[in-house]
């Protein structure tokens, strides 16, 4: 991946919480304009890495660069608008779909136009009629689409997806996969996707990163999930398939 432009670069990134080291000297980069998948057992530190990339936590040691700029030099609100995140539980504020969708714009003291809202809903394949519905009444799949649409309001060049399909049925999960691939192709959005499904990872990913015990143990082309080189990754993949 040496000649590929990196959207995110990690240099010796370590992070501890309550005296326990969660991330240990992470190095490497996530290529711009591609879909990278991040896999690994629970507790490997994947979600924690996302919190560092989105600026919700700061690394104890090491440096993180977003498009070549040190994360510490970003204004935190700008960083979070540059590196958007969608979470598994797709948290919603009390109120309507409209209230939730227009939130990121409101936080900047601006208003989302009706046309923009309709366009966003079309992108994520949600019915425009839903705008006046209570967000908490939506189905899991609809909430997840709304959560993605809401993140897209800020037009983030980098989008982090944390197990966004793990609580969805297969049909909904497949629809979300198509949506993310479309976003990547249409807008060249850099996607980093944490998934517990290796099948999904192979289907959507261009590049793969395997994390274990707070370290990136293997990274490279998506094929590494079919032909891993290290024993620990082989065992992990075998365990997932059994």
């Amino acid at each position: 991946m040496d000649n590929i432009q990196e959207a995110i670069t990690l240099q010796n990134v370590s992070f501890s919480a309550n005296g326990t080291e969660i991330l240990h000297q992470l190095n490497g980069g996530f290529p711009a304009g591609n879909i990278s998948v991040l896999v690994g057992p629970s507790g490997a530190g994947k979600s924690t890495l996302f919190r560092l990339l989105n600026g919700m936590r700061s690394a104890d040691k090491g440096e993180i660069y977003i498009h070549g700029k040190n994360i510490a030099q970003f204004d935190p609100t700008d960083l979070r608008r540059t590196v958007g995140i969608a979470l598994q539980q797709a948290p919603m504020l009390q109120g309507t779909v409209w209230k939730n969708l227009s939130l990121p714009r409101k936080l900047q003291g601006k208003e989302l136009t009706k046309e923009e809202a309709q366009k966003l809903l079309r992108i994520v394949n949600l019915d425009e009629q839903l705008l006046d519905r209570k967000a908490k009444e939506l189905s899991g799949g609809q909430k997840q689409r709304l959560s993605i649409a809401r993140t897209l309001v800020n037009q983030p060049p980098i989008l982090l997806l944390d197990e966004i399909t793990s609580s969805l049925d297969q049909v909904s999960a497949h629809e979300i996969e198509k949506l993310i691939i479309h976003l990547n192709q249409a807008y060249q959005t850099t996607i980093i996707w944490i998934t517990h499904s290796l099948e999904q990872a192979r289907k959507v990913g261009d590049y793969a990163y395997v994390m274990m015990n707070g370290k990136i143990v293997e990274s490279g082309n998506i094929d590494l999930l079919t032909h891993p080189s290290s024993d620990s990754v082989k065992n992990f993949i075998k365990g997932d398939q059994s």
Binding site: A17, N18, N54, G55, M56, R57, S58, P76, T77, D78, R80, R81, G84, I85, Q89, P91, L93, L103, P104, L107, Q108, R150, T151, V153, N154
Partner: protein, 255 residues
């Protein structure tokens, strides 16, 4: 009222003690402790006030107010251990409420600048401010625990700490001040307020007693809202660091 009649009044302590004993309510120990403490504390305050009134010295008035603020802070700070520097924030809040109310009262010549007025009114203001502070801190911590996900959501979408915590802050301010406002709506219909009753029993003109009670009620409104708003706006920044990260582990360590 003499010491003899005060001793006779202890009959009213005997009644709950007998009921508690016969019905095995287990309230005897607490009832006795409460009685003994109230006798000692109030008698001590009574004699101290007598001395302060007689001395007519602003130094002793100031000392009394300092002691009240110290006691109120000591009581309320236990509820706000999740907020960094809560002791100083409470002290600032109580001092502000005290200065604000006394400045208006004395500045507009509503009450004369004597110990007889300053000390009891300060006691009511600081006491009420303490209760409001405790109510606010309880509610604020509970709101943050229940809505941690929403606070983080707003931050991840590029919101500032103030935007992230706005709903929880406003809800907590409202929830802590509503009892004060609501209780004033029914005042006089069910029971006469304690201060007014005391004045009437002591022989004051009932209309004059009402005037003073109304003054106190209006002061309590100011104290209630000012305490919650000030404490809220002093507290929330300590829950975030300079990188606008929500320090939610502080909330989680609360019981």
């Amino acid at each position: 009222m003499s010491y003899f009649t005060l001793v006779l009044a202890l009959v009213f302590v005997l009644i709950p003690l007998i009921l508690s004993k016969s019905l095995k309510l287990g309230l005897e120990k607490d009832t006795i402790i409460a009685t003994v403490r109230s006798i000692i504390q109030l008698l001590a305050v009574g004699y101290i006030l007598k001395f302060v009134f007689a001395s007519d010295s602003y130094f002793y008035i100031g000392l009394m107010i300092v002691l009240m603020i110290a006691a109120a802070t000591q009581n309320a700070r236990k509820k706000g251990t999740s907020i960094k520097g809560i002791t100083m924030k409470l002290v600032i809040t109580f001092i502000f409420v005290e200065i604000l109310t006394q400045a208006i009262l004395l500045g507009l010549h509503i009450t004369p600048p004597t110990a007889q007025y300053i000390i009891p009114i300060s006691g009511m203001m600081i006491g009420n401010s303490m209760v409001l502070g405790i109510l606010f801190l309880n509610r604020f911590t509970a709101e943050l625990q229940a809505h941690e996900e929403e606070v983080e959501l707003i931050l991840t979408l590029g919101g500032t700490p103030k935007q992230a915590i706005h709903t929880q802050l406003i809800n907590s301010i409202k929830a802590s001040t509503i009892p004060t406002i609501e209780s004033q709506k029914t005042i006089g219909l069910v029971q006469l307020p304690g201060m007014m009753s005391g004045q009437i029993i002591a022989g004051a003109d009932p209309v004059q007693a009402v005037f003073f009670q109304l003054l106190v009620l209006f002061l309590l409104l100011t104290a209630a809202v000012t305490t919650s708003v000030l404490l809220g706006f002093l507290s929330y920044p300590t829950l975030f660091n300079e990188r606008m990260q929500f320090l939610n582990e502080r909330i989680k360590t609360e019981d």
